[in-house]
């Protein structure tokens, strides 16, 4: 026993804070959340076991649940590809030995570091106001801008633009990936008189595939979890007409405005499963389109 402690003791001592956190604040809560999702619980009275009722109601009757799924999926599918294309485009321009790259990189990254803040969410509300800056800019081109914030047809775009504006971290990861592509491949292609677009599709894109894949998974998970911007811009409710009812906003309101903890826990588990499925799809499909260099030949 003494030998055992001497050999492994230090490891357990150093691991203790993490282990307490993992059991008490991660694993325990996940299991508790699963249990609560089968109950009705308003905090004041003890949880009451209702079996699958929460899930049955959710999938059969809850139109707001479907609305929140629709909003969130639309947001993910609009914002993630746009963000990645933007990030890759800028990274490619920055990659080719340009002067003052550090300054550009820093300025492009700045919005990403501020993007999660309330200050930016507040700013966004004012930019997209009916007499805000965005409509003033559109006015210069003779376009009469819509009521971005109050028209449910347009409100989601304000958040898509906010997400794309924060393309900084995928851009930095792309830059690191582009640096790793051997330059002689491009030189060889140049001698073979391959056009720039052809070089992009035949060299850059396949060799960058692992990085694209990594960014894709990361950004999708981030997009599914979007909360602060949607909460502040929609005034905390998902307005107008639930067009900004992100899944996380719905979940927050069920739990902390209406104190339906059981139902909110069921929603949380649906979110967990959606994220897990999408991550699995991204991992699985990567086999067909991601080629790691050392696997070839």
């Amino acid at each position: 026993m003494r030998d055992y402690l001497q050999k492994y003791g230090a490891g357990y001592v150093f691991l203790t804070p993490w282990a307490i956190g993992f059991l008490g604040l991660a694993l325990g809560p996940i299991l508790a959340s699963l249990y609560l999702s089968f109950t009705q619980y308003d905090i004041i009275n003890a949880p009451e076991w209702v079996g699958l009722e929460n899930y049955e109601y959710m999938f059969s009757f809850d139109t707001r649940f479907y609305k929140s799924l629709q909003v969130t999926f639309a947001f993910v599918f609009l914002s993630v590809p746009a963000k990645l294309i933007f990030a890759l485009g800028v990274a490619m321009v920055l990659d080719k030995g340009i002067r003052a790259i550090g300054i550009y990189r820093a300025l492009f990254y700045l919005p990403s570091i501020l993007g999660g803040s309330i200050a930016v969410a507040i700013l966004w509300r004012q930019l997209f106001n009916q007499d805000g800056v965005v409509n003033a800019a559109l006015g210069l081109f003779g376009i009469e801008g819509p009521y971005w914030l109050s028209d449910p047809r347009y409100s989601l775009y304000t958040l898509v633009v906010l997400a794309v504006w924060q393309f900084g971290s995928p851009m930095l990861i792309f830059l690191a990936g582009l640096r790793a592509i051997p330059q002689d491949l491009y030189e060889a292609a140049e001698i073979d008189a391959a056009s720039k677009p052809r070089q992009f599709f035949a060299i850059t894109l396949p060799l960058l595939a692992p990085v694209i894949f990594f960014n894709l998974v990361l950004q999708m998970i981030e997009a599914f979890k979007t909360f602060t911007g949607a909460f502040v811009i929609s005034g905390g409710t998902g307005a107008p007409l639930d067009s900004l009812l992100f899944f996380t906003v719905y979940l927050y309101n069920e739990a902390f405005s209406f104190f339906r903890m059981g139902y909110a826990s069921a929603l949380a588990w649906v979110l967990l499963i959606i994220i897990a499925i999408f991550t699995a799809i991204a991992f699985y499909s990567s086999r067909y389109w991601v080629h790691y260099e050392n696997e070839r030949g």
Partner: protein
């Protein structure tokens, strides 16, 4: 035969030279176009922030409907007025935010480096399983654990205190930072630990006197990112803090939105600017760490 070969080699060299020359010339032109393009992009990117700065100084009837970044008259008073513009002074809000942020950073650095040291350098039974579990927590959305955590802290009587925001940081719940530090610790030569062990150093001494000093870049990256994330955190304070005296800066800023009179927009922007100043200062000073940290780990 030989001649043909040398000649074709010469040809190749000439072609390569010509290509290179052509490339250099076109690169110079392309360079100018790129700079013009990049400057335009940067301006569009940064414009909203500049607009917020200038709006914080504009007379309130000038804020809307104008693209101009130049206030016709600089209204410095929005800042002192905004500072006292809510029922509780921003001195209090900034103090609260600073308190929560500093303690969270300390907690994250200590607890995450402890866990990372155990995973990267120490041997114990169950290490691989624990590591796999730790990596799995990276994927779990905060919203899933939020409700049970809230119930735990409610039962403990911690709601309306800062404990639910700070204590988890001392328990290495931000797995991102653990992962980041593990990656760094693993690169350090093992001979260092072994030599120290032979000299009779304890595991703690090795952690404190060897691993931590050599891992300053990773530790700094974790500290910088925790500062920024905790400073900006909105959901945590929103759930746990109900008394305006306890509000952190993000919660206070949101209060400006509920009082919807135009006259206070200048003050709202002024306080919004002040709320991001610490982050921008951090970003300017520690830019290198931040950018390397993202490339290393894919932090958001």
């Amino acid at each position: 035969m030989v001649d043909v070969a040398t000649q074709s080699l010469d040809d190749h060299a000439a072609i390569a030279r010509a290509l290179r020359e052509k490339k250099r010339r076109s690169e110079k032109r392309a360079g100018l176009i790129k700079h013009a393009f990049l400057i335009a992009c940067t301006f569009i990117m940064i414009y909203p922030l500049l607009w917020m700065l200038s709006s914080s100084l504009k007379p309130s009837d000038e804020i809307f409907g104008s693209l101009s970044l130049w206030p016709s008259e600089v209204m410095w008073e929005t800042y002192p007025e905004g500072w006292e513009g809510l029922p509780v002074s921003f001195t209090r809000f900034f103090g609260n935010s600073l308190f929560v942020t500093v303690l969270s950073v300390i907690g994250n650095v200590i607890s995450c480096s402890f866990a990372a040291y155990a995973f990267a350098r120490l041997e114990f039974k169950g290490r691989n399983i624990a590591f796999a579990l730790m990596m799995m927590t990276l994927m779990i959305p905060y919203h899933v654990v939020l409700i049970p955590q809230y119930l735990i802290f409610l039962k403990a009587g911690w709601v309306d205190t800062y404990l639910p925001l700070i204590v988890p940081k001392f328990l290495a719940t931000d797995a991102f930072f653990v992962f980041l530090m593990i990656q760094f610790f693993r690169q350090l030569p093992r001979e260092l630990d072994e030599a120290a062990m032979i000299d009779g150093c304890s595991a703690f001494k090795i952690y404190w006197a060897i691993i931590m000093p050599l891992s300053l870049p990773a530790v700094a990256t974790a500290a910088i990112f925790s500062f920024i994330w905790v400073w900006e955190d909105f959901l945590g304070p929103l759930v746990y803090l109900n008394d305006i005296n306890d509000y952190t800066v993000p919660l206070a800023l949101r209060m400006f939105l509920s009082q919807d009179s135009i006259s206070e927009y200048g003050q709202m922007f002024a306080m919004s600017i002040l709320s991001i100043v610490p982050i921008i200062i951090f970003f300017i000073i520690f830019q290198k760490f931040i950018i390397r940290g993202i490339a290393m780990s894919g932090l958001k």
